[in-house]
């Protein structure tokens, strides 16, 4: 399916919503866009979603008894998705990559398109890219050993008062550990190793609604307790890490129960949603009414609306729908000073600096976002993937730049470098028919031999078009015409789709790598157009050089893609991984290299972050990034809003 054209494309490339096809089990070969249900969200998650509250009909306190002995309260909290997710890796417990006995890679479970398939070329790619071997395993600790978790430091008075409110809480080790980390490499690595934790939250609370949050924050202020809001737990900036120097009781405020769509306004095309809702649930629930937000960050299976607001998230289809700051109409948040919100839902206001922008990107340092009014759109009628191969990365960047200049970017347009292109191909499932095999060979022959593209140079742009059929086809033609002027050749829908698949399974692949002594991470930046090429080049070279200097035996994988385009620049996303055999402290080495890479980014005109945020990982560069006065402004806001540092996760500043 390498260079497939329309004729040989998979049967479900034109589905109503882009994301569904990636994450859902699909009866392969039998569905088409016409026969498939408009939304697939309910399908793979039926077990979970059955008990989910529906739009407008909140289910109150569902406190069914559970196994195990509750420690402090007899009203068991509902633990959100915790039950079906890994405690020491990415995603669902039932979904993971592994090398089976035949040495072939396979993806377990039933949730994804790749689930249950074998990936014959992954092992070769893996071993050749990292100099790794499937014989050298570095397995993770299987269960959490309670002895590595420090005992909770509870604030008795706070606990007593909390009990009186009836809000569920817990201080079980598993609950606390689950909320003590995000998905930075060092965090996951430590979980896998079963290392002793220095500091984890002392308890977890599950508020059910805005008013619960108000009560919790009031109590926290009263008893001087530290609150750390927790949404989906997908942070990659050490934002959820408990500050080791924090001596007060740390309470993780889990928003997962605040997951209802409170109302939907079709006149103004907005929905009012509780901030704890997880991306895929929000999308599924809206789909049922024929709407979507169109906000699809790569983490949307697990990340929450409140988290998006708190980190200034960006979605894959921002070209059509906008980033989170463009989508949000109204934010309600609870701070130690009280509740902050605007008095109207005017689409734009001139009322001094926009207070939403204090909350957007505040990373849990000022309060908890409880409710958000956001724009919704009718589900697009038609959706189509596409891809273009370019002989070189330079040509691809020039094309994306031109597309941005003409402001005709499709819902998503990404340019993957050569390494990522090969990486994507390593994820191709087994091809059953000889015919497909033959066609693939033919395609490859056409591109590399007849068109003279060097397989070690060529890059691929992946495209996603959305809208009404007529316009999508027109739009498609426009983009392909521009691509042609830069030497680009259309390479079929399947290649496009595979590109997006990579971003959704990449975190699962990292777990696979970590099973075999490979550590990996991704990071991002945004940069003006004229510096895109130089930045990519220099950052990769810096990583390679730093790894060499630090004794990494095998050259690391460094790969990047231009993942978003803007009028004046682009967002670049890097993957970086290396085989750590022979290193005494791989995490430390990794951190040094990542640090150097970030310095290189900043020196090359890149931003500190495009959408991951700052957290604690990149705090040290804030002063240089926003000036001393800028830091002072933020500090004074924090000082006013939260003088006692109740929201004490110490992110950002």
């Amino acid at each position: 399916m390498l260079f497939e054209g329309n004729r040989f494309s998979s049967p479900f490339v034109t589905v109503p919503t882009g994301f569904c096809s990636w994450l859902c089990v699909v009866h392969r070969g039998t569905t088409t866009s016409e026969t498939r249900p408009r939304c697939d969200w309910s399908f793979p998650y039926c077990q979970y979603t059955k008990e989910e509250p529906r739009c407008g009909k909140p289910i109150l306190n569902n406190r069914e008894p559970r196994r195990g002995k509750p420690i402090l309260n007899n009203r068991e909290p509902r633990r959100g998705k915790q039950e079906i997710m890994k405690w020491n890796g990415w995603g669902y417990s039932d979904s993971k990559f592994l090398f089976n006995k035949k040495g072939q890679a396979e993806f377990t479970g039933k949730r994804y398109r790749l689930s249950g398939m074998t990936l014959p070329s992954l092992q070769d790619w893996f071993e050749n890219t990292f100099g790794a071997s499937v014989k050298h395993k570095s397995p993770a600790t299987v269960i959490l050993n309670a002895s590595v978790v420090p005992p909770p430091r509870l604030n008795e008075a706070f606990v007593e008062n909390l009990k009186a409110t009836g809000i569920p809480f817990s201080n079980e080790a598993e609950d606390r550990v689950f909320r003590a980390h995000g998905h930075c490499l060092h965090e996951i690595f430590a979980l896998r190793e079963g290392k002793k934790f220095e500091r984890v939250p002392d308890m977890v609370v599950w508020p059910n609604c805005h008013n619960d949050v108000v009560k919790i924050v009031e109590l926290a202020c009263k008893h001087n307790v530290c609150l750390i809001p927790y949404g989906g737990g997908t942070s990659v900036t050490s934002a959820l890490e408990c500050p080791p120097e924090e001596t007060r009781c740390i309470v993780s405020l889990d928003t997962s129960q605040m997951n209802r769509i409170l109302w939907l306004d079709e006149n103004n095309l907005v929905a009012h949603v509780e901030a704890g809702i997880i991306g895929q649930d929000l999308e599924r629930l809206l789909n049922e009414s024929g709407y979507c937000t169109g906000h699809e960050p790569d983490s949307m299976e697990f990340s929450s609306l409140g988290g998006w607001v708190a980190t200034r998230a960006s979605g894959m289809k921002k070209n059509v729908y906008g980033n989170i700051e463009d989508l949000v109409i109204h934010i309600k948040a609870v701070t130690p000073r009280g509740v902050i919100e605007k008095s109207c839902q005017g689409p734009r206001t001139s009322t001094g600096p926009d207070i939403h922008h204090f909350i957007l990107g505040s990373e849990g340092t000022l309060g908890v976002v409880t409710e958000v009014t956001m724009k919704i759109r009718p589900i697009p009628e038609y959706q189509k993937y596409g891809s273009v191969v370019f002989p070189k990365f330079e040509a691809g960047v020039a094309c994306l730049r031109e597309v941005a200049k003409q402001r005709c970017a499709p819902a998503s347009i990404r340019l993957m470098d050569n390494k990522q292109f090969h990486f994507g191909h390593a994820l191709k499932p087994q091809v059953s028919s000889i015919f497909t095999h033959f066609v693939e060979g033919l395609k490859k022959f056409y591109i590399t031999k007849l068109k003279g593209f060097d397989p070690h140079q060529l890059v691929v742009a992946t495209l996603l078009f959305e809208g009404d059929r007529e316009r999508v086809l027109q739009h498609e033609k426009q983009v392909y015409d521009i691509a042609a002027t830069f030497g680009g050749l259309a390479a079929g829908e399947d290649n496009g789709q595979r590109g997006y698949l990579l971003t959704f399974v990449i975190a699962y692949l990292r777990d696979l790598g970590m099973d075999y002594c490979v550590v990996a991470e991704s990071f991002e930046t945004s940069v003006p157009w004229d510096r895109v090429l130089d930045l990519c080049q220099n950052v990769k070279e810096r990583i390679i050089r730093e790894c060499k200097e630090r004794g990494v035996q095998f050259q690391p994988l460094t790969s990047c893609r231009v993942t978003q385009t803007y009028d004046s620049g682009a967002c670049i996303y890097f993957y970086f991984a290396f085989n750590y055999r022979g290193l005494a402290d791989p995490v430390h080495t990794y951190e040094q290299v990542e640090h150097a890479a970030r310095e290189e980014i900043l020196a090359n005109g890149g931003s500190l972050s495009h959408h991951h945020g700052v957290g604690k990982l990149r705090k040290e560069w804030m002063k240089d990034s926003i000036s001393n006065v800028g830091v002072g402004m933020l500090k004074s806001v924090k000082e006013y809003v939260d003088p006692e540092n109740i929201f004490g996760n110490r992110n950002l500043l």
Partner: protein, 644 residues
């Protein structure tokens, strides 16, 4: 090709210096093979150098197009057009003419011609042309990884032909060389040089924005694309005195900027030290310094110069130094993100931080060049002879040369002293090679004074003597960088009112400031240099440093007085300039009048028997002294005179 070095000047060093950075490579004589095999075959052999990241080199014409179409140039063209009211396409045309005049047209066929001709010429002129092969290997590695800038020392016209010849010999990418426009005057030869990789720049184009834009973009384009190593002379011009010249920063700024702007990951600067046992231009330089103008470069002049082909010029040593990574140098010194807020194609004056970084880098590179200059025994002998202008007994000279050799080696001089030969042999063969400068009559060795043809005026006699003194000084100057810091300390100890360390330091610092045009003293390094000087003098036992004092030891006398003598001509020279400015100079003295005026002032003093120092007559020294005074760091002339 045999890889074993013919001989190694590094062998037999005293062991006190264990600094691994100072470990030097061995040499190989590339002429040896030329003497044993066909030059024609050599010129026609297969030449396939490795290139930067395996890029295919672009044709000279394509390069011009890239430059002419660059955003950088377009911006300046529009700017100039707006300022002058001229249409942009006319300015564009002008730019294209400038580029035409400037650009090289590197052609392998021309290089092969040169390879053939130079083989013949080198074999006649020189005994050996020695190259450190390890340096070549390092360079080959560097060329593949990052854009390379070759920075050779500049003592002779031969330098850049020699460089290209060596790189061709070792199958390395041929450099493009920034050359002064004066070469273009040589009709045929200018074009030949152009086709062997030279590109020509005007000597001065201060205010010409367009010229600067074309020029800098041309150089940067070659650098960014890794088209070829770029070669230029940091010193800007040939040093007539064999002292390294204060580096010029223009081109260095240009080649470093792409790194700051993130256009390349790194730039490697490769210092190259080219040492001549005898410089072809030896007496020409001396005459030039005395005010006989430099002959205009012309083809016929070159042909006349053929007679030099009949002489023996000893050997040449070319040392390719360790590539210096600009990235590593700039680490922590320059914040590259300051370049983020300005479009990269708009020319901008470098920031202060950058300027001082480039300046500092330039000095460090020149010092690296100096460190790897190979010194011949004659250099030591010349230093001794200049302190004994009336002549020396041969045996005394031999004895003192041996003593000085020990001193030089303990200061880590890169001395090429034939180990096997007896000292007397070394001294006599040096004298033989330099018979134009020194002669032995009876038992005495003295400087040769140009044969007077018929009756001469006292001025003419003085002039002849000055020529031989200055020629000789150009050899002494080669060793100065080794002795400079301890010598300044010796002078400081001599002049300081007490032996207190801080007083000696004050004197040292005064000398350091004063001489910073004459010698390569890295800005801001005064304290470091002082400490180095103390370390070296203590190491060789000439000085003791009890408590806060610096005092001479019992055995320190010869060393310190040699060092005092070494700098004596410079001190006297500065003194004369001061005296002239105090006593004679009129109000409206222009710089043009200054040099001849000081010269005749000095001539008067010498003829009157009040001055015995001929080096004052050197225009180089006069200029440097004036520059030191103009820098304003020094006290007024009168005060200076008083201190001297």
């Amino acid at each position: 090709k045999a890889c074993t070095p013919n001989y190694s000047p590094g062998r037999g060093w005293p062991c006190f210096n264990t600094d691994p950075m100072l470990k030097r490579d061995c040499f190989e004589d590339i002429l040896e093979e030329r003497r044993n095999s066909s030059d024609l075959k050599y010129a026609l052999r297969c030449y396939a150098p490795v290139l930067y990241k395996g890029v295919t080199p672009c044709k000279a014409n394509m390069l011009k197009n890239i430059v002419l179409q660059s955003d950088q140039l377009h911006y300046v063209i529009n700017q100039v057009s707006q300022e002058s009211g001229e249409a942009p396409d006319i300015i564009q045309e002008e730019a294209s003419v400038i580029l035409e005049e400037m650009a090289h047209r590197l052609q392998i066929s021309t290089v092969r011609c040169f390879a053939f001709a130079l083989s013949k010429a080198f074999k006649t002129l020189f005994q050996h042309v020695c190259v450190n092969e390890e340096g070549i290997q390092r360079l080959q590695q560097a060329i593949q990884e990052h854009p390379v800038v070759l920075l050779p020392s500049h003592r002779s016209y031969m330098d850049f032909l020699l460089m290209s010849y060596i790189l061709y010999t070792y199958d390395l990418a041929l450099p493009v060389i920034a050359a002064g426009m004066d070469f273009m005057g040589m009709k045929f030869v200018g074009e030949m040089l152009r086709m062997s990789g030279a590109f020509f720049i005007r000597r001065s184009f201060g205010g010409d924005k367009l010229y600067w834009a074309v020029f800098s973009e041309y150089v940067k384009t070659m650098l960014r694309n890794g088209f070829a190593p770029i070669e230029f002379f940091l010193e800007g011009t040939r040093s007539r005195t064999c002292k390294s010249l204060t580096p010029k920063l223009g081109l260095l700024n240009i080649v470093i900027e792409p790194f700051f702007k993130g256009e390349v990951f790194d730039v490697n600067l490769v210092p190259v030290s080219i040492s001549y046992e005898r410089i072809l231009e030896e007496s020409l330089y001396a005459r030039e310094l005395l005010g006989v103008p430099k002959p205009k470069e012309s083809t016929s002049g070159l042909l006349k110069a053929r007679r030099i082909l009949s002489e023996d010029y000893g050997s040449i040593h070319v040392y390719f130094g360790q590539p210096v990574s600009v990235r590593s140098l700039a680490q922590g010194k320059v914040n590259r993100s300051t370049y983020n807020l300005f479009p990269r194609h708009i020319p901008r004056k470098p920031m202060e931080e950058t300027q001082s970084f480039v300046n500092d880098t330039a000095y460090r590179i020149v010092r690296l060049q100096e460190d790897n200059m190979v010194l011949k025994p004659w250099v030591l002998m010349a230093s001794l002879l200049l302190q004994n202008l009336e002549g020396l007994e041969l045996s005394v000279l031999t004895e003192q040369t041996v003593w000085l050799r020990g001193l030089a080696l303990s200061y880590a001089a890169f001395l090429d002293w034939p180990d096997q030969a007896p000292t007397a042999k070394v001294v006599s063969s040096s004298l033989a090679l330099h018979r134009g400068l020194a002669c032995v009559s009876g038992d005495r060795v003295s400087l040769v004074v140009g044969e007077p043809l018929g009756p001469v005026t006292p001025e003419e006699a003085l002039f002849n003597r000055a020529v031989s003194v200055l020629s000789c000084a150009s050899y002494r100057n080669q060793v100065l960088h080794v002795f400079l810091r301890p010598a300044m300390l010796a002078v400081a100890m001599h002049t300081a009112a007490s032996s207190k360390k801080n007083e000696v330091y004050n004197c040292f610092s005064f000398l350091w400031d004063m001489f910073s045009n004459d010698f390569i003293l890295c800005p801001g390094d005064t304290v470091q240099d002082f400490e180095e000087a103390c370390y070296l003098l203590v190491k060789t036992g000439a000085v003791q440093m009890p408590q806060q004092d610096i005092v001479m030891t019992d055995i320190g006398q010869p060393t310190l007085s040699f060092f005092n003598g070494l700098l004596e001509p410079f001190l006297q020279g500065y003194q004369v300039v001061c005296r002239y400015l105090c006593e004679e100079a009129s109000e409206g003295l222009t710089e043009k009048q200054y040099i001849p005026a000081v010269r005749s002032f000095a001539v008067k003093l010498i003829l009157a028997g009040n001055l015995r120092c001929y080096e004052v007559l050197s225009s180089d020294m006069q200029k440097n002294a004036l520059a030191a005074l103009l820098r304003g760091k020094l006290p007024t002339q009168k005060a200076l005179l008083a201190r001297l």
